[in-house]
């Protein structure tokens, strides 16, 4: 089991979500984050004065998948999040020790398995 954590541009999220859905990975979380990297800030002009903001808004996308699915998900993220410009973001993959589905109490990789029926619905 691996956790994939991606820092991406806002506009790339929807294409990624659609692709993951069609591949059978509907389960994910996102949060609005602000961060800095090599991408420059935005210089705002407020009534003649300048104000530079070094923290840029990004979307943090998190999902936990079975180890064999990691490459599929990462590829989907790379495919849609890349513009080739600085500021496209980063993807991290890290190990997860255990997972539980709260509703049933199940644990292990079954709780993370891909959902082919969701993919079928999405493409239908």
């Amino acid at each position: 089991m691996k956790k994939i954590e991606a820092y991406i541009r806002h506009e790339s999220f929807e294409p990624i979500r659609m692709e993951l859905l069609s591949l059978g990975f509907p389960s994910l979380s996102i949060s609005e984050v602000k961060g800095s990297g090599r991408q420059k800030g935005i210089t705002e002009r407020y009534r003649g004065a300048e104000l530079t903001n070094w923290l840029r808004p990004k979307v943090k996308l998190e999902c936990v998948v079975a180890t064999q699915d990691v490459q599929t998900v990462v590829d989907a993220i790379l495919k849609h999040a890349r513009t080739g410009q600085i500021g496209d973001g980063k993807v991290f993959v890290m190990p997860v020790e255990e997972a539980y589905r709260i509703r049933t109490g199940e644990s292990g990789e079954e709780t993370l398995q891909a959902h082919p029926e969701v993919a079928a619905q999405a493409t239908a």
């Binding site: 806002h10 506009e11 929807e14 602000k34 090599r38 991408q39 420059k40 935005i42 210089t43 705002e44 002009r45 407020y46 004065a49 300048e50 104000l51 530079t52 903001n53 070094w54 923290l55 808004p57 410009q85 600085i86 500021g87």
Partner: protein
Amino acid sequence: MRRRTGAALLGAALASVALPGSALADTKDAAAAGVLPDSVAINSIWVVVAALLVIFMQAGFAFLEIGFSRAKNAGTVVAKILTNFSIAALAYWAIGFAFAFGNGDILGTHGFLLRDYGDPQQAFGIMGLSDATIESKWLFQFSFCAVSLAIVWGTTLERIKFAVYVIYAIVFASVIYPIASHWVFGGGWLQSNLGMQDFAGSTAVHLIGATGAFAVLLQLGARRGKYGPDGQPRAIPGHSMPLFGLGVLILWLGWFGFNPGSTLNAMDGRFPEVALVTMLAAAAGVLGAVAVARWKTGTVDIGMAGNGAIGALVAITAPSGYVEAWTAPLIGGIAGVIVPLGVYWIDRRIDDPVGALTAHGLCGVWGTLSCGIFTSPGLAKFNAVGDAGLIYTGSFHQLFTQALGIVTVFAFVFALSYATFAAIKATIGLRVSPEEEEAGLDISEHGMYGYPEQFIPAPELIGYSPAFAVPARETPRGATTKEVPVT
């Protein structure tokens, strides 16, 4: 704007016999000589008050559009409204007013820069029924032009270049609006020769604005993300329903200058009746729109309630001085039904973020046509324009005249507007880049956010001091969201 021989006109005629024309033209001299009729002061007060109410409608348009925009495009509306309002004032003073209200079948030919017109009662003959001073009449008519211009931009939110506003505003306030409105209520051929009825401008203000809005939208295209790959429309919710509601109520209030003020006259006591008609129609419009939205979607849609009010107010604008009060709820209620149906229908095809094409366009058409149905014989005679409507005469003549006027005005305004926008598109372009649209017009066009705290990390705002700021590295002139690599 209505031609008739009222007591005011009689008084003005008597005064012109007693005084040389030049002295009458100057109210200050007339006042000094003790021959300025009280009616001049009373009518001028009413016309200026009405003009101020209509000017307040700019705030209504601003809040309505801000509420229906996403937060990243909130500030740009303020800059747009202020700039357009100002351009319209100068253009309408220099050129537009003379075209619109000077005498002539096709267009007026004198009164440019509001100078050299001689006796204003003669020079702007169609408004001669009221002895209000020409300056008060100018202010009132200019405020109409500004409203019509504000309507144009409802369809263009969140993606248009700021420069487009500036260029089109000059053409619109100097040529397009003045000539088209001259035909309808400035004494031009549609009004004087054919007898088209439009008391305060369902066609002359609202349909003209909506036609411009249609012409620009066809060339501008939808907002990014409005239509999915499957071609189905997506909702792009505005960021503030409270601000939208404030805008609607300001517009509603302003309409009590718009319609009742179009009497240009307080002495005949007609204006409270017009106000009553206006109120009844708007009320019916809200209820009609709420009912239809509830029926079609299962919810009481906030936006539709507001648009229903606007649509009904637009519809009652033309007939407000021609119909009996009992018809007002009918006219407004039908407009209220048109609004949600029109918005759902248009939204499937083209991206009109505020519903301007429905509220000002379709309802403007309905309101203008409704004169041909409901105009009462007494008021047609009183205004001395056209005949009574279908329900009184059984004749389709007036209805046909109304339809002809609508088609004529639409064709003229659409042709000129489409050509103007095509020229702008071919030279500087209509749309911002996809990156700028994604970032929002506030930062890309104005270099600042409408709501800074929402977009800028708070720690940088609090205690920000240029002395401790990281020095900006070759920051390009003007703010940009374009990615620039660190050197």
